[in-house]
């Protein structure tokens, strides 16, 4: 018997139909993957499951009883838990407080019953098969721990259906493996697990059932032959509605002079001593577990933070920041304003904007980036994640056609689908072929291998290894965990 069932769900935003008559059932004991391109409607579909978004038509059933009222609170009370892509934890609270928040057990005198919460979370932790650092402040925890905490929070509320949106986007390969082991354990305990993902390798290796969503409609739901490579090809064809493109191949280019030289840069405790150089036309990758100083390095290179010691030579530098929603975009401003954010002085004469020049530049960037829908007047918030990333990239790439000689990109395709990833990668390769020095920070080793001439590994605020793109996962992984460089 399905635990969660969707009946002909339909949802539109303005003229855009995000989901159309989607019917689907999630069964206990199964890991159910939902795949599709950016903007295909996956997120909307799942947010309707979790009661967060109210459908225009159609119904959600939990254990054959209709979800009514259609609210997140009701969904949680009925056992539907959601782990969002952007974690909803409070940094200055401890892990324990975050898990309890909103569902605090009370003593009969109306005081918080810490002991009872602790013992219940202990059970949850045993089920997940992981230690939870209950008394640590969340802001001191790594991404993997935060995610386990989100899962623990859902289980603490007795979730029988667990929906995860892009859970491995921020995890290293080892952490992702551990996550799926946890999910398998939860499924075997009788829970229904739903995973939205772009990573078809993961679907192949871990899912029991897959649903493909394309343009708001469900194309197919079927069981998977686990571990079968043909499945990946079949799925990507189903997702795109055509055969998957060939993977990109790095063209060998002649590297020029050193265009970016970083020498002994220190910053607080985040960067101990970072030295690296990137030549014109070269693409250099930085691999590493999140939180090992990559973010701070990018901020220093961007000139937002002043290094405590050391020097950065070269530039001007064009930067794509790690967090596109917070640092990359003004979400409530138009796509046009975002495409030229920080460049208004170029269009101003005596402080007054030249509207025609502005519109021309925006139209050019919009077209070359292939942003959908191609309407510069929409708020950036209304775009899908992949298209938001295209906006940020288009801005950075355009600057390499102006003054910038160095392009620094953090996580170019995080949470971005296959088709869009490919387009973004091609733009990076193109920039390099024009003689731009490119530095790519990513947690995705496939991506780094495909793009880079060299891969630097960062651990605990320093570059610990310099490897060729042919290095194995094992070698890179060992270096990422901080093993001394060979």
């Amino acid at each position: 018997m399905p635990t969660l069932r969707l009946e002909k769900l339909t949802k539109s935003y303005g003229d855009v139909r995000a989901v159309r008559e989607a019917s689907l059932a999630f069964e206990p004991g199964k890991i159910h993957a939902v795949v599709g391109e950016n903007g295909a409607g996956k997120s909307t579909l799942l947010q309707m499951d979790a009661g967060i978004v109210v459908p225009d038509a159609g119904e959600v059933y939990v254990d054959d009883a209709r979800l009514a009222p259609h609210t997140a609170a009701e969904a949680i009370a009925r056992g539907v838990g959601m782990v969002q892509q952007h974690f909803a934890l409070i940094g200055v609270f401890t892990a324990l407080e975050n898990v309890m928040l909103g569902a605090e057990p009370m003593t009969s005198f109306g005081r918080l019953d810490d002991a009872r919460a602790r013992s219940k979370i202990g059970e949850v932790a045993r089920e997940i098969g992981a230690e939870l650092p209950l008394d640590a402040l969340v802001e001191t925890l790594g991404v993997g721990d935060r995610q386990r905490l989100e899962i623990a929070r859902a289980l603490y509320r007795d979730a029988r259906v667990l929906v995860l949106d892009e859970p491995t986007a921020v995890l290293t390969p080892a952490e992702a493996q551990a996550l799926y082991a946890t999910l398998r354990r939860l499924a075997e305990a009788g829970r229904a697990i739903v995973v939205v993902t772009h990573k078809l390798d993961e679907v192949r290796d871990h899912a029991d059932v897959v649903t493909v969503v394309r343009r708001g409609e469900i194309v197919v739901t079927r069981p998977l032959k686990r571990g079968d490579d043909d499945e990946v090809r079949a799925l990507s064809a189903a997702i795109m509605g055509r055969e998957a493109p060939e993977p990109i191949a790095r063209r060998a280019t002649e590297a020029g002079d050193v265009a970016l030289r970083v020498d002994g840069v220190r910053l607080g405790r985040a960067l101990r001593s970072v030295s690296l150089c990137v030549r014109a036309g070269e693409i250099v990758g930085i691999a590493g577990v999140d939180g090992n100083g990559q973010r701070e390095l990018v901020r220093v290179l961007a000139g937002i933070e002043e290094a405590d010691a050391g020097s950065v030579e070269g530039g001007p530098v064009s930067v794509v920041h790690e967090d596109r929603r917070d640092e990359g975009l003004v979400l409530d401003a138009t796509v046009a304003d975002n495409l030229v954010l920080g460049e208004l002085d170029r269009f101003a004469r005596f402080g007054v904007l030249d509207g025609d020049a502005f519109d021309r530049e925006v139209a050019a960037r919009l077209a070359s980036a292939g942003i959908v829908p191609p309407d510069p007047t929409l708020p950036a918030r209304s775009l899908s994640g992949g298209n938001q990333q295209k906006v940020v990239m288009a801005r950075a790439i355009a600057r390499t056609r102006l003054a910038a000689r160095v392009l620094v990109v953090a996580h170019p395709t995080r949470g971005v689908d296959l088709g869009a990833s490919r387009a973004l990668h091609e733009q990076l390769l193109d920039a390099a072929s024009r003689g731009i020095a490119v530095l790519v920070v990513s947690a995705d080793l496939h991506e780094l291998r495909a793009l880079c001439d060299r891969i630097l590994v960062m651990a605990r605020g320093a570059i610990v290894a310099d490897m060729p793109p042919t290095a194995t996962d094992r070698d890179l992984g060992a270096a990422m965990l901080g093993a001394p460089a060979a």
Binding site: F87, I304, D337
Partner: protein, 349 residues
């Protein structure tokens, strides 16, 4: 967005009407009769309409000022103090201009000094914000208190005519003509051409937000300062500029009171216009027409209070102003978001 704005405005007006009915009924009067009396005393006659315009003019200036800061994500609670200091500066200069200075020189000069004085008063919070990140709500409120004291101090030390709390008369060349000179029907009302200047400023600021680099960047900074900083927009400087401009425009409100009405500055002249500007900005929602309508609404309520004063206390209208502000603020997502930012240090990790 547009319909949400309309909704909160309608909510505000509906709430005001209910409160009006209730209060008047509690005083044992007929709401219908009083409503008609209120209308007769405001829009029902040319004189009443002129008085509404007169009351609305400083509110429009301060409303534009508060709105400008609000778009950059700042709450300028200090329009009150900025206006007081600007009034004192403008009146003092206006009184000491030589008799031979023509109006074409005198008026722009006094207007400029008013703007500079308002900006100077806002400059302290602006620098505190840009340099040290001090919250402008706290510092502008404190500057209001300091302005009160400074004006009193100035009056006691030679700025006022001895034994009074008012400045000498400004020269006639620096005065703004009343509307009654152009439209005879306005005879007796205190409305002056300051309203035209206020309208011009409203339109200019509206265009400035769309077409000027600085205005456009201020809006972006107001929406996400972190992204702007990441793209090398000098956020602290932009915030300071927004407060300075806001203070300058708040200072201009003295055009309606000092230059267009009294011809001198006295203790308490224009008081309340600074806080009224907060209400106008909340109701006007960043549009010149919206700001004008909001200023006229509050001008109507103020003038209406005088019209019905014989039967119910005019403070009833103050209550209504409060009701409108509270209802609109609660229905306004912008305000809710700003409040959440101010209260909530607990950001999601």
């Amino acid at each position: 967005m547009k319909s949400a704005g309309l909704l909160s405005t309608v909510t505000g007006l509906a709430a005001a009407w209910i409160a009006f009915t209730l209060l008047v009924w509690l005083y044992g009067e007929s709401p219908r009769e009083l409503a008609s009396q209120l209308f007769d005393g405001t829009w029902g006659s040319a004189y009443g309409a002129g008085q509404v315009i007169f009351k609305a003019t400083p509110l429009l200036f301060t409303g534009i000022a508060v709105d400008l800061a609000l778009r950059a994500g700042l709450f300028n609670i200090g329009a009150e103090g900025q206006l007081a200091v600007a009034s004192l500066a403008a009146a003092t200069l206006g009184a000491h201009l030589g008799a031979g200075v023509p109006a074409i020189v005198a008026v722009p000069l006094v207007v400029l000094v008013a703007a500079v004085a308002g900006a100077t008063w806002a400059g302290v919070p602006a620098v505190l914000r840009a340099r040290f990140g001090a919250h402008e709500v706290i510092s502008t409120i404190m500057m209001n208190r300091i302005a009160d004291s400074c004006v009193a101090l100035a009056f006691a030390n030679g700025f006022a005519i001895k034994g009074t709390v008012r400045t000498p008369d400004i020269v006639s060349a620096a005065r703004l003509p009343k509307l009654e000179r152009a439209v005879h029907a306005f005879h007796g009302s205190a409305a002056s051409v300051a309203i035209y200047i206020a309208l011009g400023v409203a339109l200019l600021v509206g265009a400035w937000f769309r077409r000027a680099r600085l205005g456009r960047e201020l809006v972006l900074v107001g929406k996400n300062p972190r992204a702007c900083a990441a793209e090398r927009i000098p956020v602290p400087r932009r915030l300071a500029q927004a407060l300075l401009l806001s203070g300058a425009i708040a200072g201009l409100a003295c055009l309606a009171t000092v230059l267009g009405y009294k011809g001198y500055y006295e203790s308490g002249l224009g008081a309340g216009a600074g806080f009224g500007g907060l209400a106008v900005a909340l109701l006007g929602r960043g549009h010149p027409v919206g700001l004008l309508l909001a200023a006229l609404l509050f001008g109507t309520l103020q003038q209406g209070g005088l019209a019905i004063n014989g039967r119910v206390p005019m403070e009833v209208m103050d209550v209504l102003q409060g009701v409108v502000i509270a209802a609109v603020a609660l229905a306004d997502a912008r305000v809710r978001a700003s409040l959440a930012r101010m209260v909530g240090k607990a950001r999601p990790a």
